[in-house]
Symmetry: C2
Subunit: 429 residues, 2 copies
């Protein structure tokens, strides 16, 4: 028997605002940060995870994770790990904490971090990377992870079971294919708003040379700038190369439609986050207005109920889950099942701090055991801050190669934690 | 010139779980709490406000309010109060803090508390209760308070101006009517799930005797119990007395429809919070399924974008704003304008700690200067914890009598603050 003895949190902030890496129309000067948690046992094991933030307020996020200590510290570990569905419901079901959302924002992301840290522990104990651990669970076990509350008018447990059973055949072939070829990646590295045209040109060339099958550019601050930058990207990448754009919630509904139509000549792969992430009906209106350009969103979708509605309303053609915005692996399993039910490809949000390391496990699980497909699917990739992780992403020829180290991939190096622990002023390393 | 010198926060918790006051199908043992803030100036003035929570996590909410100190402390007060629209946008527009929502949950409610504390200061300086201060602003000034971002496909500034100008005639007559008759209240006091049938019977009788025009019962834990309790209430109140029910998000969509239909014999005034507050499309489906029973929701609606969609989707026939769930007075002005645009009555959520004291100002402003009507409108009332406020509600013959003291009504007594400041264990006074 093992007991959880502590839930250790750290406020980690990288001074990314100093270089404008990560700048977009909404987020002008982010300091990529992590509200980091370690769930530590009396056997000396630790599960690691975090909430990604962009600077100020990372301390609030840490306080929210700390507020969950009462649910874990002193508990036996094995019962928690053996029934992760019940563990998830226990955390989400704290009726007093629930009031602070419900199931959204700071408190919900805190639960996500703790859930993900437990998954990290569970995968390490199993000696498997998370994607493989999930992929080898039975359909019944996977369904048991999901809370179907508020989902049953779109997805029932029986329907989920049917999806998962349908993907059972071929699991091992797909795992082999994954190990051989990896999972497609696209890169956002060229496209940050703060970059010069020269840097944009150079990074587009590098993206092509590195074998990425798609790039993405930030847009939405100024239409003339967007036209100029897309023209550069189109010239460098050629007429048929997929180029997506991302407005980071900058527009009104009608403005989004007009702006995207004004960029029609660039044959865009998708328009991402055109407006408020809460505006399901607005996204549906935009989707109708900008077709055949596809609408993508999800990195700020607060929970499975929002994804459900985006799918029900035919508001998105590309679903972008995020590893740390919702309440961890369990809720993202629900999100993947919803996408499979509606036949919409999942192309996760990544970048930030460790989001690539974390979310790749979910897409790989999706390929092996849920949708059974990589077609039209790819994971965002930003070449940034990977050096702080114990098992950084391994990108080859524009693909994520599956991690083989046991765990969920979110563990940071002790030296990085020590160097970038927030003290009220930035460390420029 | 006056400067803000501090933003003082306090974690206040009342031991309401000990008496089951406030118990419902979702919130079994709430400890009504306030993350309380005082914005203090170098002239010795203070603006008071709070976020209402139900216990655990109140400390997280306090931390979120503290995270806003950098926006206020050291600032000149007058420019902030003179352009509350700009002040609101400055707080909401902090792109780093915005990531923690955006515009939802702990961080959004924290902004609401700070905004409301500034309104308290502004009203005190003007020597007026908040409802009167707002009601005497010009239509242009009121429109200037609202951030129309993400609203323009449902409500433009010009449309808002038209609504407000339309209500300019008769403002003084309506203010006089308000002073004479007050604003209708309905009571939830009889209906908590934790109460015995005898207590329910007694409290229904008292509600009638006190002149309340409607009561509300909590439902959703057990259908047989709901039938029994509604039968008691119907017998005590008579066949034509309005009785609303509140499921506190307990149901799936189809379950809500079935359950409410099973209660058809009781001729319900409305069904409140039938399912997840995030499920706009689900509420619309329920509204179609339970008609002519009306659907009400809003106390957990995270921001104006959710209210916009609930109205667009015809998901609600009764809109329930809450004074402290969204980002303060400014966002609730937007919500009132949306309701007026769509012709839906606003019946605010109240109860908790000080929610009655706070939200009455918004309904009274709505009557005098926005919708211009009290028809079909009433404010929830729960007779609970009012003794802790400097200017407690004044209920006469089932109506809120308008507060006349300057301010926003959220200031607590120093003695109550001192007694109930959380120390890690409940004080039973």
């Amino acid at each position: 028997m093992t007991r959880i003895v502590s839930l250790d949190t750290t406020d980690i902030r990288f001074p990314t605002s100093l270089s404008l890496d990560g700048s977009d129309a909404m987020n002008l000067d982010p300091d990529y940060s992590a509200a980091y948690v370690q769930v530590v046992t009396d056997a000396g094991e630790a599960g690691h995870a975090f909430v990604f933030t962009i600077g100020r307020g990372n301390d609030v996020q840490v306080a929210a994770i700390d507020a969950l200590a009462g649910h874990l510290v002193g508990q036996e570990l094995e019962p928690l790990l053996d029934d992760m569905g019940a563990t998830w419901r226990g955390l989400i079901g704290d009726s007093q904490l629930r009031w602070l959302g419900p199931e959204k924002g700071v408190m919900h992301m805190a639960i996500g971090a703790v859930v993900n840290a437990l998954w990290d522990l569970k995968a390490k104990r199993a000696g498997m990377p998370l994607w493989r651990l999930l992929s080898r669970m039975t359909p019944e076990e996977i369904v048991g992870l999901v809370d179907f509350r508020y989902l049953t008018n779109a997805l029932t447990p029986d329907e989920a079971l049917e999806i998962l059973r349908g993907a059972e055949a071929g699991r091992s072939e797909r795992e082999a294919a994954l190990l051989a070829d990896g999972y497609p990646a696209y890169t956002t590295s060229p496209g940050w708003l703060g970059y010069s045209d020269e840097k944009l040109t150079r990074l587009c060339r590098e993206a092509i040379a590195d074998g990425f099958p798609q790039i993405k550019l930030k847009v939405g601050a100024d239409l003339d700038d967007d036209v100029r930058r897309l023209r550069i990207a189109r010239e460098v990448c050629g007429p048929d190369f997929p180029i997506a754009i991302d407005a980071n919630q900058r527009w009104e509904v009608s403005e989004a439609i007009d702006w995207v139509r004004a960029l029609a000549e660039f044959a865009l792969a998708w328009i991402e986050e055109p407006t408020s992430p809460d505006d399901i009906l607005g996204h549906a209106e935009i989707a109708r207005g900008v077709a055949p350009v596809r609408v993508a969103t999800g990195e700020h979708a607060q929970n499975r109920m929002i994804f459900k509605q985006l799918l029900q309303a035919e508001a998105i053609s590309v679903m972008q889950i995020d590893a740390v915005r919702v309440a961890g692996v369990n809720e993202n399993v629900a999100n993947l099942l919803l996408a499979a039910k509606f036949g919409v490809p999942v192309c996760p949000h990544a970048g930030g701090v460790g989001l690539c390391e974390a979310v790749q496990h979910l897409s790989m699980f999706d390929f092996v055991a849920v949708s059974g497909s990589r077609d039209g699917r790819m994971i965002e990739y930003v070449d940034h801050l990977h050096e702080h992780f114990i098992t950084p992403t391994d990108i080859r020829h524009g693909a994520y190669m599956p991690p083989l180290a046991p765990g969920a991939g979110m563990e940071m190096k002790a030296e990085s934690i020590a160097t970038y622990t927030w003290t009220g002023a930035h460390v420029v390393a």
